[in-house]
C-alpha cells in the first residue's frame, strides 16, 4: 500500500495553511481523521489552533493509534496546540482532561503580571540548546532565527531526554521546540513563519 503523510483533522483551525505549505514545497499530505490511514501513514502532523479540552475529546479515540504510530519510529510533528496535547495535562482545562502523555511535563498559562500581554502574538527568536543543532529538523536554520507565535499557554517540559529551544517573551523563558527521537513539537507556527518555517517542513519531510 502506498504510504502517505497525514495531517490529522480534528476540527482545529490552520489545517489548510499546513497543507498549503507542504504542497508549496512539492510534498504531499492528506488531511484525514481516519484511524486506518493514520496508523498506516509514513509521517503525521498534528496541527492545532483551539482549546485543549475539546481537542483532546475529539482525539481521544485516536490516542492508542498515535502511541502505536510513534512506537514505529516514524516522524511525528505537533504544532502549537498539537504540541501541547503531547503533554500530560493543561491548565487550560484546570488540568482535568488528560493529554497524550507522550512527553513529560504539563501545559501552563503565561503568568499574570502587569504589562504582560497575553496572548503572545508575534515573531520571536529561538534560542538553541547546544545539542539541538545536530537535529535534522533544524538543518539550515540558525540559532536565533525568528518564528511566528500565537498562544496563551506554554509547555513546562520536564523531560531530561529531549532537546529543546527556548524563547523569551517579555523576559519570560518558555520551551518553544522539543525534539525527542522521532517526535518534533513546536509552539510556534512553521507554516506561518515564512522561509525558516518552510525549511522546517522541508526538513521534516526529508527525515
Amino acid at each position: 500500500m502506498n504510504k502517505k503523510s497525514i495531517i490529522i483533522n480534528y476540527g482545529s483551525g490552520n489545517i489548510l495553511s499546513v497543507k498549503r505549505a507542504i504542497e508549496y514545497l512539492g510534498f504531499e499530505a492528506e488531511i484525514s481523521f481516519e484511524k486506518k490511514k493514520i496508523l498506516n501513514a509514513d509521517r503525521i502532523i498534528l496541527p492545532g489552533v483551539g482549546h485543549f479540552e475539546s481537542a483532546i475529546k475529539n482525539l481521544s479515540f485516536l490516542k492508542n493509534d498515535i502511541f502505536e504510530f510513534i512506537k514505529k519510529e516514524r516522524p511525528f510533528m505537533g504544532v502549537c496546540l498539537g504540541m501541547q496535547l503531547l503533554y500530560s495535562k493543561s491548565e487550560e482545562n484546570n488540568f482535568k482532561e488528560k493529554g497524550f502523555e507522550i512527553l513529560n511535563g504539563k501545559v501552563v498559562r503565561f503568568p499574570s503580571r502587569p504589562n504582560f500581554i497575553v496572548p503572545h502574538i508575534g515573531w520571536a527568536n529561538l534560542n538553541f540548546e547546544q545539542e539541538i543543532v545536530n537535529q535534522k529538523i533544524f538543518k539550515n536554520i540558525n540559532n536565533n532565527s525568528r518564528f511566528y507565535f500565537v498562544h496563551s499557554y506554554h509547555c513546562e517540559d520536564t523531560d531530561l531526554n529531549s532537546q529543546k529551544t527556548y524563547t523569551n517573551y517579555n523576559g519570560f523563558n518558555f520551551v518553544s521546540s522539543v525534539a525527542k527521537d522521532n517526535i518534533f513539537a513546536f509552539q510556534f507556527h512553521p507554516e506561518k513563519s515564512s522561509k525558516d518555517g518552510l525549511q522546517i517542513y522541508k526538513n521534516f519531510f526529508n527525515i
Binding site: 489548510l16 498549503r20 489552533v49 504589562n115 497575553v118 511566528y148 496563551s152 506561518k192 518555517g197
Partner: protein, 245 residues
C-alpha cells in the same frame, strides 16, 4: 517584537489607497504587492475590503485563496464580516484572523459567537476612531457612520467577549503620513488594555512609531501609503527594532 504589517485596502480586486478613508486612488494588483511585502520581510498582512460593509458582504475570498497558496505569514482579513459563516469562509480561504467592526454593532453577540468557534486568537476587534470635539467615537461602514459609542467604552464592552487583539485605525490620520493620533492613544491608555494593540493610520516613519510607543505599549503597526507609493520599504521601519523586545 513589534510587528510591521502592510495594510492592503481592496476595492473590486484592486489595491487602493484612501486619505481619511475617502477619495480612493487605485494602486495595482494586490497579489503582486502582497508578495513583494513578504519578500521585504513583512511580519503579517492585513487585507481590508473597504466597500464590503456597504454591500453587506466581504468579497476577498478569491484574493485570499490565491495569496495564501504562496504566502506563509499570518493574514488578517476584515470588511463586511456579518456572521460566523462569513468568518469561517474566510478562514477556509486561507485567512488566519478576521477583523470585525460594523458587524459587531448590528449584532452585539457576534464576537462571542465567532471566537467560541474559531478561538480568541483568531479574532481581531477593528475600531475606526474619529475625533469629534474632544472625544473619539467608534465609526463603522468604512468610517461613514458614527455609532455614538466612545472608543474607550467600545473597547471595554468588547474586550471580554473573546477578542485576541485590537486594530485601532485613526480615520483622521489615515493616509496623511503625518503620524498616528497620539491624543487618541492617551485616551485609551487609561483603560489599561492587556491584549495586543495594533495601530493604523498616518504611520510613515520610525519616528511616528517611536512617538506612539512613548504613549502606549503597541505590539503592531500598520503601514500603507509609504509602502504602496514605494517611498519606503519594510526594512526602513525595521532597522532599530531588530532586537527591540
Amino acid at each position: 517584537m513589534l510587528r510591521i504589517i502592510p495594510r492592503l485596502d481592496i476595492k473590486n480586486n484592486n489595491l487602493i489607497k484612501t486619505i481619511c478613508l475617502e477619495g480612493l486612488r487605485q494602486i495595482g494588483d494586490p497579489n503582486i504587492y502582497a508578495k513583494d511585502y513578504v519578500n521585504q520581510g513583512a511580519d503579517e498582512l492585513l487585507f481590508m475590503d473597504i466597500v464590503a460593509s456597504l454591500y453587506g458582504r466581504n468579497n476577498l475570498f478569491h484574493i485570499i485563496n490565491e495569496v495564501s497558496k504562496e504566502i506563509f505569514i499570518p493574514i488578517t482579513v476584515g470588511g463586511g464580516i456579518r456572521s460566523l459563516k462569513d468568518a469561517i469562509k474566510l478562514l477556509e480561504s486561507g485567512a488566519d484572523k478576521v477583523a470585525l467592526n460594523s458587524g459587531c454593532f448590528s449584532d452585539r453577540n457576534l464576537i462571542n459567537e465567532i471566537s467560541n468557534r474559531i478561538g480568541v486568537s483568531s479574532v481581531v476587534l477593528s475600531i475606526e476612531a474619529k475625533k469629534i470635539k474632544n472625544e473619539w467615537y467608534s465609526f463603522y461602514n468604512s468610517g461613514r457612520e458614527n455609532s455614538g459609542i466612545k472608543v474607550e467604552d467600545w473597547i471595554e464592552e468588547n474586550i471580554n467577549k473573546g477578542v485576541g487583539e485590537i486594530l485601532l485605525t485613526s480615520v483622521d490620520s489615515e493616509g496623511t503620513e503625518k503620524g498616528f493620533d497620539l491624543k487618541l492613544l492617551e485616551k485609551i491608555k487609561k483603560r489599561n488594555i492587556q491584549i495586543p494593540l495594533t495601530i493604523s493610520g498616518g504611520v510613515a516613519s520610525i519616528k511616528n512609531i517611536l512617538d506612539a510607543r512613548q504613549v502606549i505599549n503597541i505590539s503592531g503597526v500598520c503601514i500603507a501609503s509609504s509602502l504602496h507609493y514605494k517611498k519606503k520599504t519594510i526594512c526602513d521601519f525595521r532597522t532599530i527594532f531588530k532586537n527591540y523586545e
